[in-house]
């Protein structure tokens, strides 16, 4: 058949027409549209049964109640619990982003690991749990066999007082090592100040909910201080109440808290003690203090004569002489009129409270400063009163049986701690990680052979972490129990990865700052995602592996058993409450003395309930008799701390007293050294060469502790805080123009310790001559969502040493800037 041109055209036209009229094009278009909706690389969330499970967030010592929504076995959302006494519904952004910690494959250790390459080479071999535990047990056994049990050291970041912390400490104790170190915290400073003035070792408790006037000397109350869930929900309540509290925020920068406050004062950083004493001066001078309290319950306020008949100048006269508003104005930069005004307002308030601290309170502060601020509470008679600073009631947790010490352990425990904490040099401090670092770096051989790291990332989170990293290089064997591939565990030899907070049961005993006894208990929300093991179980297995008396001190088969044994004490006390009704906030209960009896008739049912509800608490305060309240030698609140007197006398024995206190870093003389006073801390670097001050700041939406910042939090950072990989420092426009810096300029911030590459954000709210730098970024480990973003100010902190405590002063580094 001839196929003509004509036929071809007919065929083509007909074919085209036919195809267009057929359903084919429509079908194809529809298919394409559907395909664009179901691209295989767009994740499709698996369906499943919805459920919720209650727990407690243990990412910080705040212990907020959380409720986790699950689909099937997956956790899909974290929400705050309104039926939990601490937070009453809210949680902080870090807690909210918790699932990004749980499920982030890029930052978690998935199994026990043994280093195979050189240290820091990031070459690892996955090993079995038994093998890993065996290796460590053998090593510790070896130390004990050679009579060096003290060469085992541990750095513990677990929440103080928690069962985990107790367990780690018990291991060291049973092995025979005194070198149990904890990560330093702001709370330590509070505890020390109250110990020195009131006696008794306990956390500070602030009945903020019942105050009507707060002077915060630098606490970022709404920037992540204390238990953020509690603080934010408390603030919400205050803000909505018409007759709300008066809040004075003392801060060198217009922080969120400062902007929310009724009054913002910005003294020069480090002069807060002088400001507090200036306020005290006015209160004393105008006789606005609580005379009843001062007369009956205070020691050292007026001039006094000691047993030897020596005349001592009292706190009141010292303050009147040395801290007049005029003098304080010169020191702090705060006008005398303002000081007088603040003092009058403070003293005339119904229930004022003064708070000491810096930022989130993750790092220790200055002891004298804390004392000076606490002295205000005493002057106003706010100690052990509703709406004041409470002396916490003990939680009736049961104690474990005593540790069995074998001769090796007994011998080991007599050796001096590497960090010399608790010795005459640092009599009041429990642990000094900085001194530990120094001791290792200064000697030839490391005094520690095996280092155990629990829930801590000191390389990144402590001031001058680089020195710590140098010290690590000298320690022969490092074991990390961290669940995360953080900077510190990257330098370890053996990784025994813990579960994350949503996979395990741990407790928090007395969340930070809470003013009533509270025991918080988290429960596993999901099955462990990886081949990790609860650190508590690891410690117990380890002890069993070491054997002998060490094993004997760990009679439990697993962690939960050890924990339950303590909780039994709560049951035995017959007190407490487990459920919480939001309409009956705890602050109301605190008005009354007394306690609440428990309705439980068996431990088992009570345990089940604690597990389910995540807490046990007593919604009241016992306000003990005044005779028991102060556990000082004078049985009073001591403006003149006899504890300091005893300690300094002991330290200076055989030397010149003045030389001795100079060695301790105390610049003042005479009786003032035993009393709250302003101690000028001189930075190492010269002002002429380093004209600016570096002030690390903490943001509530930037994790600055040992948990790496989750990606969701990166979303909430402003682009004047982080842009691409550059961290911004806040600089006052005037200061910036002096150094030729503009908005967005790239610059080097240089301290004697090193330099940081940053960009500049001009911020009117920044104090002139101070460079404010956020803490929490600058990671060299973790995944690509975190690593290499920003810089870590801790690296260039030129730390001074706080007198008395020996803790690092991290807010006083002199720096210069160079535009690049």
């Amino acid at each position: 058949m001839q196929f003509s041109r004509r036929d071809f055209i007919k065929f083509a036209v007909g074919g085209l027409g036919g195809t267009l009229l057929s359903p084919l094009p429509w079908k194809l278009m529809d298919d394409i549209a559907i395909w664009t909706q179901n691209w295989s690389w767009v994740p499709v969330p698996a369906r499943g049964k919805f459920s919720t499970i209650k727990s407690v967030c243990t990412l910080c010592p705040g212990a907020c109640g959380i409720e986790v929504r699950k689909v099937g076995s997956r956790a899909v959302k974290i929400e705050g619990r309104s039926d939990y006494p601490v937070n009453q519904g809210g949680i902080c952004p870090l807690g909210m982003a918790g699932l990004q910690i749980l499920y982030n494959e890029g930052i978690r250790w998935k199994a026990p690991m043994k280093r195979v390459g050189p240290r820091g080479s990031k070459r690892w071999r996955e090993i079995a749990w038994d093998e890993a535990l065996d290796e460590l047990a053998t090593r510790i056994k070896g130390l004990r066999d050679t009579g060096n049990p003290e060469k085992l050291a541990a750095i513990d970041g677990n929440q103080p007082r928690s069962t985990m912390a107790l367990l780690v400490r018990r291991l060291l104790d049973a092995v025979g090592s005194p070198n149990y170190l904890v990560m330093p915290r702001g709370e330590d400073t509070h505890a020390m100040a109250t110990f020195l003035m009131q006696g008794g070792r306990g956390p500070a408790a602030f009945d903020l909910e019942n105050t009507d006037f707060i002077v915060s000397f630098g606490c970022g109350l709404f920037d992540g201080w204390g238990a953020p869930g509690r603080m934010l929900s408390a603030w919400g309540e205050w803000a909505r109440n018409k007759d709300r509290k008066y809040l004075i925020q003392i801060d060198p920068r217009a922080s969120n808290t400062a902007s929310k406050a009724d009054q913002w004062l910005a003294p020069f950083p480090g002069t807060e003690a002088a400001l507090a004493l200036g306020v005290a001066h006015v209160i004393i001078k105008e006789k606005l203090y609580d005379r009843e309290f001062i007369q009956n319950h205070a020691f050292g306020f007026t001039d006094w004569r000691d047993a030897q008949g020596i005349e001592h100048k009292g706190f009141s006269r010292t303050v009147l002489e040395k801290y007049s508003p005029e003098i304080v104005e010169r020191i702090t930069g705060i006008g005398r009129g303002v000081i007088t005004d603040v003092a009058r307002k403070f003293a005339s308030a119904r229930a004022p409270i003064a708070l000491a601290g810096r930022g989130k309170g993750l790092l220790p502060g200055s002891v004298y400063e804390s004392m000076a601020i606490h002295a205000l509470n005493a002057l106003a008679g706010r100690v052990n009163r509703k709406g004041g600073v409470l002396i916490p009631d003990d939680l009736p947790l049961a104690s474990w049986s005593d540790v069995q010490h074998d001769p090796v352990a007994m011998d080991g425990l007599t050796r001096e701690r590497v960090d010399r904490a608790g010795t005459q040099r640092y009599p009041f401090t429990g642990s000094l990680i900085q001194k530990f670092t120094e001791a290792i770096n200064s000697g030839h051989d490391s005094p520690a052979d095996t280092l155990l790291l629990c829930s801590a990332n000191p390389v990144h989170t402590i001031p001058d972490g680089r020195s710590f990293a140098r010290a690590m290089a000298k320690i022969p064997f490092i074991v990390s129990l961290s669940p995360f591939m953080d900077e510190t565990s990257m330098m370890a030899d053996l990784i025994l990865p813990d579960h994350t907070h949503l996979e395990k049961m741990v407790d928090i005993v007395w969340p930070t700052g809470i003013q009533y006894p509270l025991y918080a208990l988290s429960q596993p929300v999901v099955q462990p995602v990886y081949r990790t093991k609860h650190s508590g179980d690891v410690i117990i297995s380890l002890a069993k592996g070491i054997g002998g008396a060490v094993a004997g001190s760990f009679q439990w088969t697993h962690f939960e058993e050890a924990l339950q044994e303590r909780v039994r004490g709560l049951y035995d006390s017959g007190k407490g409450r487990i459920t919480y009704d939001a309409s009956e906030p705890v602050r109301k209960g605190l008005a009354t003395k007394g306690s609440v009896s428990s309705p439980y008739s068996s431990f088992k049912t009570m345990w089940e309930d604690i597990r389910e509800h995540g807490c046990w608490y007593i919604p009241s305060h016992s306000f003990g008799d005044w005779s028991d309240v102060f556990q000082t030698p004078s049985k009073k609140f001591e403006f003149f701390s006899t504890k300091i007197e005893v300690a300094l006398k002991a330290y200076s024995k055989g030397k010149s007293f003045n030389d001795a206190i100079l060695q301790l870093g105390i610049g003042s003389k005479g009786d003032e050294v035993y009393m709250p006073h302003y101690e000028e801390i001189k930075p190492g670097a010269k002002e002429r060469e380093y004209p600016l001050l570096l002030y690390p700041i903490e943001l509530i939406n930037l994790a600055s502790g040992w948990i790496g910042n989750p990606p969701f939090l990166n979303k909430t950072l402003f682009d004047h805080q982080l842009r691409e990989d550059d961290l911004f420092v806040e600089v006052n426009p005037k200061t910036a123009s002096r150094f030729g810096l503009k908005e967005g300029s790239k610059a080097m911030v240089i301290s004697p310790k090193g330099e940081l590459r940053v960009r500049v954000h001009l911020f009117d709210g920044a104090m002139p001559d101070v460079i404010f730098i956020p803490v929490g970024l600058g990671h060299t480990a973790y995944d690509r969502y975190l690593k290499g973003k920003g810089v870590n100010p801790h690296e260039i902190i030129d730390q001074a040493e706080d007198p008395l405590s020996g803790q690092p002063v991290w807010w006083n580094t002199r720096v210069k800037v160079r535009r690049i």
Binding site: V42, V44, C92, W264
Partner: protein, 255 residues
């Protein structure tokens, strides 16, 4: 076109109290977590990342030490007169006549971004990238909200799936109407200071309808006529002034 009677039916809206808001960012994180919002490697690129609840920081412009900062959380304003809806060529975004929530149909969106040009609040984000979640994190994705594909615009939906959830529950209980707090978006629930109030602006029993009447209540860019249903509250005059453009001498607010 027939003019809409806005006094009828349900008009969901929210009031954000800026005096209470501390700028902690929980709302933003809760929103991202609730709505399967994807995460970029570089989240500092605010011009490309996706945030339905965006925080803005403003200062009163005064020098140290008189400076004040206030954070302004910005969800989709859910305008009653949305500039974005009439411009969408493919009917991918609509204002629900019953709830007055402005929806976005991702599978309908062709990605022309005209709605983004129309929205003065920058409340809409375009998926410049394939949705990405750091390794392993697809495990927390919620099946209630579909993850978006590359090339479409997304925005705050007032957590529409929560409305569905609440309705389903009410239906199961044999009720037709929702109680005041039965349906609230994730940000409202998450705000630890309870700075955000949510409800039906047309229902005089709901707190929001009372809150929007106060002298301190305002909306962003009110004079453009978009009629947002996300209101703000602040006793500070400078904050209220910051919410809109004024010629010199025009703003007569107190505080």
């Amino acid at each position: 076109m027939k003019k809409e009677d806005r006094t009828q039916g349900t008009r969901y809206g929210m009031v954000i109290d800026l005096d209470t808001c501390t700028g902690c960012g929980v709302c933003s994180v809760a929103c991202a977590s609730e709505n399967n919002v994807s995460v970029l490697y570089d989240e500092s690129d605010k011009t490309r990342n996706i945030t339905w609840m965006q925080l803005y920081m403003v200062t009163n412009g005064k020098g140290f030490p008189e400076t004040e900062v206030v954070c302004i959380p910005r969800p989709c304003m859910q305008c009653d007169n949305p500039p974005c809806v009439p411009v969408c060529p493919s009917t991918a975004t609509r204002k629900d006549p019953n709830t007055r929530i402005v929806s976005q149909i991702y599978t309908r969106c062709i990605g022309c971004r005209y709605c983004m040009a129309a929205c003065p609040y920058q409340a809409r984000s375009f998926n410049w990238f394939d949705p990405s979640f750091p390794e392993g994190m697809d495990r927390y994705l919620s099946p209630e909200v579909s993850p978006r594909m590359r090339g479409v615009v997304e925005k705050c939906s007032f957590c529409h799936h929560r409305l569905m959830r609440a309705r389903a529950k009410a239906y199961a209980d044999g009720r037709r109407d929702l109680k005041e707090d039965e349906y609230i978006p994730a940000c409202v629930e998450a705000c630890p200071t309870k700075a955000i109030t949510f409800g039906d602006l047309n229902n005089p029993k709901h707190r929001v309808s009372e809150l929007v009447k106060g002298p301190d209540a305002f909306r962003l860019l009110e004079r453009l006529g978009t009629e947002p249903k996300a209101y703000y509250k602040s006793t500070k005059g400078w904050v209220r002034r910051m919410a809109d453009n004024y010629l010199s001498g025009e703003f007569k607010g107190r505080g």
